[in-house]
Amino acid sequence: MFWVMTFLMPVLLLAPQIYSAIQDSGLDLGGVDTGKTEEVSAADMPVIGLVDEAGLIVEMPEDFPPNLFRRYADEAAARAALERDEIEQYIHIPADYIASGDIIVYDKNFQIMAGSEDMGSAFYSASEGMLGYLIALNLTGDAQLAAALRSPIPEAYAARHVINPPEEADGDARAMAEVVSRVMPYLFYFILLVGSSYLLRSVAAEKENRTIEVLLLSLHPRQLMMGKILGLSVVTLIQLGVWFGGGLLILDRGSVLMDVSGFAFSPGFIAWGILFLALGFLLFASVMAAAGAMAPTAREANQVIWLLILPLMPTLMFSNLFLEEPNSPLVLFLSLFPFSAPSAMVTRLAITQVPLWQITSGLGGLALTTYLMVVLAGRFFRASNLLSNVPFSLRRFATGWREWDK
């Protein structure tokens, strides 16, 4: 089962992320059609019914397909045509349109997100697309003005002049950075959580089924904790090896599909990555060991895992921000805050040059916190806690670290 999880979990979790990153970055997948078509043939064009009680639509733009709209005298006729599937949808423009602005579109099995591909979509046409343009054209009688109202400063027509141009970034290298920025937080999330949550569960389960009583006869609690952490580090190392090897294979395959010669990890990335990973793992493992020692039952220990996941969440959620603005205050905070630093700093290191002071402060803070947490976990991981089934209490957390087994 361990091996199934090791191989299957990352594939299932990363595949959608990689898919979306590749779709967003527009990487050339060696001529693979990504599903978006530029032109829609005339036969495939939808036909849209039009019931114009306001008498507004007189002129049709020249660049619209000739049979896009089919006029109906009243709603009943349009509805009947929609029910017979002769039209995709129909637009009802009420007589008081100018005063109210209301337009009602009737559709069958309507999908909002189909807007960008299907010209029949109402929301797309309403904002900047077809319907708004058509109405503006007929209200003003000026095609250029209607086009300008639709998009007054089109991004595609704006000639850009950069005063202080940043260093030229290769398109594929940036796309690769995008993939890395999405994948790295997930990788760290799993490395840090999977291994350390095994620790929490094993401590809590051994405590509950009283194996711990037997173990404590021949072991000191701190030896037990360090042994468990060490053993699970090896498990995580094996998992990491499989994932890292897989990652290298994917990258190797990726280099066939795209030119990633412009993308390189910053110097020392591997060394920093290992340091952050090792300290991060030790930090999470010691927190989990302490939680396992304090939890009266395995059930309660499982609930606590949810709390420990929270500090890792922002890096997952703001992966775009890491890419767009790797030096923004929030990203900087996340990469210095010890509980998010392992995943956040390594993600930053993978995609940008990070000033040395930030790396060292992040690492220093992490090392200090890890040291404190290991000491603290050692104090919680003592016989009186391991052999008790007293529920969690703030008082125990506040005072528990003061006493320890000598």
Partner: protein, 400 residues
């Protein structure tokens, strides 16, 4: 029956009246709130607040019409007589960027944009476009101006599902996503408790004692009902927190005032939630009774949970195209139907046949699984130290 309620009450109390349960139940919404606050902070802190300039060679823009434009960022707009002055302002960082409108604007829409390092954000660009629009419609009567600026207000009526979609009630589109997330957390945590309840009691042999005074049906039924009540308690706390949050926020945020209670959505989700929960519970009972160690049970259940979480992992595909064959397949597949239909609800009409087929396949699988779990439970319950292998489990099911 009395025994069933006794067990249910015990399971409920053992799960809910724990500090960790209360802590986690409160921490998850608070944590999500903190993360959302961080997102807003990130958005605002990274925004460039410097004004945007323009050089208008066509003579169509007038700064006094700024008030007519609907601008959201609060970034000011400044006029410059020529490019040199604007460039000097840009270089001294008085402005973040400036646009140059050609002499034949709006007949030609080709503009020039000058900036230092980063172009203006999409929001700032949208604000400037809104300002230009307000100038372009200035020559029309006021009623017409408003119509041209605001554009049509579109409402879509779906004649099949009788549902209504409108640009105004964007909140009703987002709501199913948030609801799906909470449903997901509540169901997954309940499944974890269920597994724990069975596997741990088997491992520490409490089950052998229990079975002397209650029937297997009462034992499992009681655990399921008790943990369902715990999951519903968690959901109720989330719903109450969300309603209070929305009530406070709706006084400040206009879009939230359009929020209506989506009764149809809640009814459909209710229809799916209970069989989905029963399916997870049955699966967990089967795993918990078949294995010998709780750790092993957790590993297998982690893999099976993936079958329920798949829509969350494939969220990108569902969002981009709710009618995609993958989305349709996930809507019909028993373990994923609940979450997929919930996610698709806000994005458009989910065809009735898909809801029907999805529900039937879910209920059929659940009934089968409950039947199978009861048999596996009977066979595995007293096999202390001996796992029930797949082959033996199939044989147990065949024997009926």
């Amino acid at each position: 029956m009395r025994n069933l309620w006794l067990i249910a009450r015990h399971e409920y109390r053992a799960t809910v009246f724990r500090r960790a349960f209360i802590l986690v139940t409160l921490a998850i919404p608070l944590g999500l709130l903190a993360i959302s606050a961080l997102a807003i902070l990130a958005e605002t802190s990274s925004q460039n607040r410097l004004p945007v300039g323009y050089v208008d060679r066509a003579g169509v823009l007038d700064l006094s019409r700024k008030s007519l434009a609907s601008m959201t960022t609060g970034v000011d707009i400044r006029a410059f007589p020529d490019e040199e002055t604007a460039l000097a302002a840009l270089e001294s960082e008085e402005i973040q960027a400036f646009f140059v409108l050609p002499a034949d604007y709006p007949d030609a829409l080709q503009t020039d944009l000058y900036y230092l390092e980063e172009p203006p954000s999409t929001d700032v660009w949208r604000d400037f476009s809104s300002f230009v629009r307000a100038n372009l419609v200035a020559r029309y009567p006021q009623g017409m101006q408003m119509r041209l600026l605001e554009g049509p207000d579109v409402t879509v009526h779906d004649i099949v599902s009788k549902r209504e979609f409108s640009q105004r009630d964007i909140v009703n589109i987002i709501l199913p996503f948030v609801a799906s997330l909470f449903f997901f957390i509540a169901t997954m945590s309940a499944s974890g408790y269920m597994l724990q309840a069975v596997a741990a009691e088997k491992e520490n042999r409490t089950m052998e004692l229990m079975i002397t005074s209650v029937t297997p049906g009462q034992l499992i039924g009681g655990k399921t009902v008790g943990l369902l009540a715990a999951a519903l308690t968690q959901l109720a706390i989330y719903v109450v927190a969300a309603v209070i949050g929305l009530m406070i926020a709706s006084s400040r945020i206009e879009a939230l005032q359009q929020l209506t209670v989506p009764w149809t959505y809640l009814a459909v989700m209710g229809l799916f939630f209970f069989p989905s929960y029963a399916l997870i519970a049955a699966l967990m009972v089967a795993i918990g009774s078949a294995v010998t160690k709780i750790q092993e049970a957790q590993q297998i259940s982690g893999l099976l949970n993936l079958l329920f979480v798949l829509p969350m992992l494939l969220l990108v595909v569902i969002l981009r195209n709710p009618g995609h064959p993958v989305s349709v397949f996930l809507s019909l597949f028993p373990t994923t139907a609940f979450l997929t239909i919930s996610l698709r609800w806000g994005l458009g009409t989910v065809p009735l046949w898909q809801i029907g087929v999805g529900w039937i396949s879910l209920v059929a699988t659940t009934l089968f699984m409950v039947w199978a779990a009861a048999r596996i439970f009977r066979a595995g319950m007293l096999r202390y130290g001996q796992p029930l292998r797949l082959k033996a489990a199939v044989a147990v099911l065949r024997r009926g």
